[in-house]
Symmetry: C2
């Protein structure tokens, strides 16, 4: 009875890489990078620290694996159908990443880090391949495909990193109220700046309160796409 034997043999394996990754992501979501401690992990998983190291190597690899897990899931949204324009496909990927970071603020720092340090991994390659395929259809000549894809990736990463709220802001019950107050405070502070030294800040002080992050992101994408279409 090999089935029964195997079952018995594995009865004590309560831990799995997946379970570890899930609790790590849970910890990160609730309290940012600072909340991901080995001791918090052992508490939630009811094990010793050695058990975790048996499965994941170290904290940094755990963070990378969590990043990979979230990003891979975000990118796995089905590609738009064949009829969709390249612009639609780019927007779909960009918004998927935008939403992933909105849900997991710790991703902002970690995503940038991983693309820098591991250009060969599925995160970097996945994002580049998915976006890059479209630039040809956009009218970009072949020898400039790398420049074009890089520009797109750089803009998207910069924008979504900037839209992630500060880590550890577990406080607010109503996140939207926090957001309103945050922008109110910011625009008040900008208004208090010296008008002669900061004419531009004064000119836009009303716009920060009215703007919508997501719409502004799409405007930025449109600007870049427009520029790319004219890249010769």
């Amino acid at each position: 009875m090999p089935t029964r034997a195997r079952r018995t043999q594995r009865r004590n394996q309560v831990l799995s890489r997946e379970r570890i990754l899930d609790t790590a992501i849970g910890l990160l979501d609730s309290g940012g990078e600072g909340a991901l401690t080995v001791r918090a992990m052992t508490d939630r998983l009811a094990t010793g620290s050695g058990a975790i190291y048996y499965h994941v190597g170290n904290r940094d690899e755990l963070l990378d694996a969590a990043t990979e897990s979230v990003i891979t899931a975000a990118l796995s949204t089905r590609s738009a159908g064949a009829r969709a324009t390249p612009e639609d496909e780019i927007r779909a990927v960009a918004l998927a990443l935008f939403d992933a970071i909105a849900e997991h603020h710790w991703l902002a720092t970690r995503l940038t880090l991983q693309i820098i340090r591991n250009p060969v991994g599925p995160v970097t390659v996945g994002i580049f391949e998915r976006l890059g395929r479209q630039v040809g259809a956009l009218g970009v000549p072949r020898p400039r495909w790398f420049d074009a894809a890089s520009t797109l990736v750089h803009y998207i990463l910069g924008a979504i990193s900037q839209n992630a709220r500060v880590e550890g802001d577990t406080s607010g019950i109503d996140p939207d109220a926090d957001r309103e107050e945050f922008f109110d405070q910011t625009s008040r502070a900008w208004r208090d700046l010296d008008a002669e030294s900061y004419p531009f800040m004064h000119a836009i002080v009303g716009q920060i309160r009215e703007h919508d992050d997501r719409e502004q992101f799409l405007t930025g994408i449109a600007v870049v796409l427009d520029g790319l279409a004219r890249l010769r």
Copy 2:
């Protein structure tokens, strides 16, 4: 003799905020964020840990102050003369930030963090004001100035963050050789990817070795400027 009295009184103040900031930046430059420990600071400054806390509050504030110091210096390069185009001025600011991050890799993470957390501070305001002033001359209508400046900032921050090499790479004697080898490894790894699943990566595998980070950055800026000029 008030002068003499003051001098005597201060003879024991060997520490100053400026000296602390300088050694912190030195530590960060040589070994990344991980190298900035209070103990390393007390060693270099030959003091106790309390002395540092007397001047700077805590480690996070020290990191923010170091960021502010470097960015303020980078932005203080004189504005281009009155004859310069808005495009020239934007390029000058963008390259100043690019160079600052090239020299201080730890800035990538910290700059993004500070802009998110402290939109009222001199770093955020300095960058926005300096870049934002130009968008009007670029042809962007007033109600869209905030969108335009944000797009510019997001692209620049994304691009320079992505160009910062990994922290703690103090190893190489010749940084250019490291760079070459890094791109060689990357392009080899990309070539090894499945050609059917990753047609785009295969298409650009030669371009990564030939490209120049700085030129690619300027191309990206040109793309965004081009798009902004058509923003209505």
